[in-house]
Amino acid sequence: MKTAAKFEIPFVQYLDPKGKPTQDLPKSASKDELLKLYKMMSKVRIFDTKAIALQRTGKLGTYASSLGHEAAHVGIGTAMIEEDAFCPMYREYGAQFVRGVKMSEVLLYWGGDERGSNFSGPKHDFPWCVPIATQYLHAAGSAMAFKYRGEKRAAVTVIGDGGTSEGDFYEALNAAGAWKLPFVGVTVNNKWAISVPLSKQTACETLAQKGIAGGMDVVQVDGNDIIAVREVMEQALKKARNGEGPTFVEMLTYRLHDHTTADDARRYRPDEEVEAEREKEPLIRLRQYINDQGWWDEDQEKALVEELKAEVDAAVEEYQSIEPPGVEDMFDYHYEEITDPLAEQREVAIKEARRNA
C-alpha cells in the first residue's frame, strides 16, 4: 500500500517538572528575563487566589481561575508585540497583564460591569470571549486585515481543549491555512472541558494534529515550561509577521482549580490526578531552576510575595472604589448614534432608576 502523506508532531520542552534542563536553553532564557517571567507568573497566581477569595465573599461574580496556566499565558503575552492582536477566551489574564490590562479591569468585568471590557492595553485587542471557539474566527479576520494592509503584525488566539471540538475552530484554521494568514492559534490543553476529560473530547492522539488539517505548521509544547512556551510562540509569531503563514500550538498543561467558581471539580475528577499534576505546575519548576542557578532564594521569594500581595490589594481597592455605572450605560453603546426607539427606552429607564433611588 502506498502512503499518501505522513505527518509528525514536534514536542518542545526545556525544563522538566523538577526544573532540570532537558536541552540547552535558548538565549532568551537569561537571568533577567527568567526573573521577570517568574515575577509575572507569581503575580498572576496571587491575583487569581485573591479573585477566588473575593468571589467566595460575594465581592465578585463567577470567576474563571487560571491556576496552573501561568506559564502558558505569560509565555504567550511576553512573546507578542503590542501591534499584534490578542483574541483570548476568558482566563488568559497572564497574557493580558503583560499587554497592559489592569487587574482592576479584570475584576470589574467579573464583578458584572461591562466597562471592564473597555480595558487598558492595546485598543485593538478583543475582550474576553465566553462562547467557545468564536474568538478563533475573530483572530483569523484580524490577521486578514493585517495581511491586507501589508502590516507586520500577527493575531493570536487561545482556546481550551474542549473548544477544539467546535466548528468555528476548524473554520478558522482552514481559512488561516488557505489564505496563509499571520495567525497563531493556541490550544491550552488543560485536560478538562468542565467535567469532560480529553479522552471523551477527542480520539486524536494530540490536539496539535488538528492544525495539520488546516495546512499549517503545528507544534506541541510543555505548557508548564515557560521557556518552551515563549520560545515556540516567538518563533511562530516571527514567522507570521514575516508572511510565512500560520501556526497551531498545543500547550500541555493542567487546570488545577475548578472550571470556574461556580464549578466543583471534585464531583468528576480524582484527587490523585490533581495531586500528581500539582507536582508539574509551572511555578515550581522555574523557581527550582532559578534557585539552582543561585539567582533566587527564600528571602527574595518572601519579599516578592509581600510586594505582589500589596499590588493586588491596591487593585482590589481600586476596583471597589469604582462607582457603579449609570443606567444609561446599557443603552449608549449599541449603535454609534442612539436610535429613536432606544432613546425613548433610555429615558424610561433613567426615570425608573431615579424613582427607585
Binding site: 473597555n118 478583543f126 475582550p127 486578514m144 468555528d168 473554520e171 482552514n174 453603546y333 429613536d340
Partner: protein, 325 residues
C-alpha cells in the same frame, strides 16, 4: 441616466465603495471569478483584484466571524451569504459578536460589517433557499436590518450600509432582482438607514410592506386605486431600527393600516408595527389593523410556494375588511 435592475444597483453600490474606499472588501462563496450565483458581484474581482474581492472557503460562520475580526481591525468588510436560508450557521457570530462588540467594549471596538444575502421566496428554488428571516435579526440589539425593494433604494441603502459604523444585515429580495428597471445615478449618494419610504400618498388606507411582498402590495394599491380606494404605500425598507414616526403619521391621516410581509406571521415584524399602532395610534384607527403574511409554516417547496406568499387578492381582501368597519 442608465436604467438598471435591483441586482445591477447592488453591484454598482459595491463597485462605488470599492473604488472610493480602500478599507472596503467584498468576500464570500463564489463572489470572485463567478461573480456570485446571482451575479451580484459580477466583474468586481476583475476590476478590483483578488485582494479586494475574495472567494472564501465554504463556511458561513467563518464569513461572519472573520468579518467581525476584519471590521474590528479597521476594514469595512462586505460579506455575502449565498442564500438567506444558509445564514443559520453564521447566526451565532452575527448575534453573539457582530451585534455586541461595540456594547461589550463600551465603544472601544466597533464592527462596521455588512452581511448581504439574497432574500425571500418566489423563485422556485430548492429547500433552504427562500427564507424570510428579518424578524430574527430585527430582534437583536446592536444590529441594523435593511431590505430594499427597488433599484434606487438598493443602491442608496447599500452605500449607507457599507458606510455605517454599525453592523448591517442587508437582505436583497431575489424575486425582485431582475423584475423592474429604474434609473439609478451612480453618484455615491446614500439613503438614510432609519427612515421609511412613502412610495405613494393616499387617504383611505395605509399599506405597509417591505422586501419582495412590496411588489404585490404596489399591485394591490394600483388595482384598489382603480376601484376608487386611495392607498398610501410605505416601504419600511429599514426594518430595524424601525421608523414608527412615518407609519404613525400616515395612519393618523388614513385611519386604517394593512401590513404585508412574506415572513411567517407569528412574532413577525408586522406584530411589532401593529403593537406600536395599538400603543400610539389607537385613537386614529377606524378599523382593526390587518396583517397579510406568510403562514406559520416552513417555507414550502415551489409547488405550494405561491399559496404561501401574500397575494394581491389577499391584500385587497384585507383592505376591504378595514373599510367595512
Amino acid at each position: 441616466m442608465p436604467k438598471v435592475t435591483l441586482i445591477d444597483a447592488v453591484n454598482m453600490a459595491m463597485a462605488h465603495e470599492l473604488e472610493h474606499d480602500d478599507s472596503v472588501l467584498v468576500y464570500g462563496e463564489d463572489v470572485g471569478v463567478n461573480g456570485g450565483v446571482f451575479r451580484a458581484t459580477a466583474g468586481l474581482q476583475e476590476k478590483f483584484g483578488e485582494n479586494r474581492v475574495m472567494d472564501t472557503p465554504l463556511a458561513e460562520s467563518m464569513i461572519a466571524g472573520m468579518g467581525v475580526g476584519m471590521a474590528a481591525q479597521g476594514l469595512k468588510p462586505v460579506g455575502e451569504i449565498q442564500f438567506s436560508g444558509f445564514i443559520y450557521p453564521a447566526f451565532d457570530q452575527i448575534i453573539s459578536h457582530a451585534a455586541r462588540l461595540r456594547n461589550r467594549t463600551r465603544g472601544r471596538l466597533t464592527c462596521p460589517l455588512v452581511i448581504r444575502a439574497p432574500f425571500g421566496g418566489g423563485i422556485h428554488a430548492p429547500e433552504h433557499h427562500s427564507e424570510s428571516t428579518e424578524a430574527l435579526f430585527a430582534h437583536i440589539p446592536g444590529l441594523r436590518t435593511v431590505i430594499p425593494s427597488s433599484p434606487q433604494r438598493a443602491y442608496g441603502l447599500l452605500l449607507a450600509a457599507i458606510r455605517c459604523p454599525d453592523p448591517v444585515m442587508f437582505f436583497e429580495p431575489n424575486r425582485l432582482y431582475r423584475m423592474v428597471k429604474q434609473e439609478v445615478e451612480d453618484n455615491g449618494e446614500a439613503l438614510p438607514l432609519d427612515v421609511c419610504f412613502v412610495l405613494k400618498e393616499g387617504t383611505d388606507v395605509t399599506l405597509i410592506s417591505w422586501a419582495p411582498a412590496m411588489h404585490e402590495t404596489l399591485q394591490a394599491a394600483k388595482q384598489l386605486e382603480e376601484e376608487g380606494i386611495s392607498c398610501e404605500v410605505i416601504d419600511v425598507a429599514t426594518i430595524s431600527p424601525l421608523d414608527m414616526e412615518t407609519i404613525l403619521e400616515s395612519v393618523e391621516k388614513t385611519g386604517r393600516a394593512v401590513i404585508v410581509h412574506e415572513a411567517a406571521r407569528n412574532v413577525g415584524v408586522g406584530a411589532e408595527i401593529a403593537a406600536n399602532l395599538a400603543e400610539k395610534g389607537i385613537y386614529d384607527l377606524k378599523a382593526p389593523v390587518e396583517r397579510v403574511t406568510g403562514y406559520d409554516v416552513t417555507m414550502p417547496l415551489f409547488k405550494l410556494e405561491k399559496q404561501y406568499l401574500p397575494s394581491v387578492a389577499r391584500i385587497k381582501d384585507a383592505v376591504q375588511r378595514t373599510l367595512e368597519e
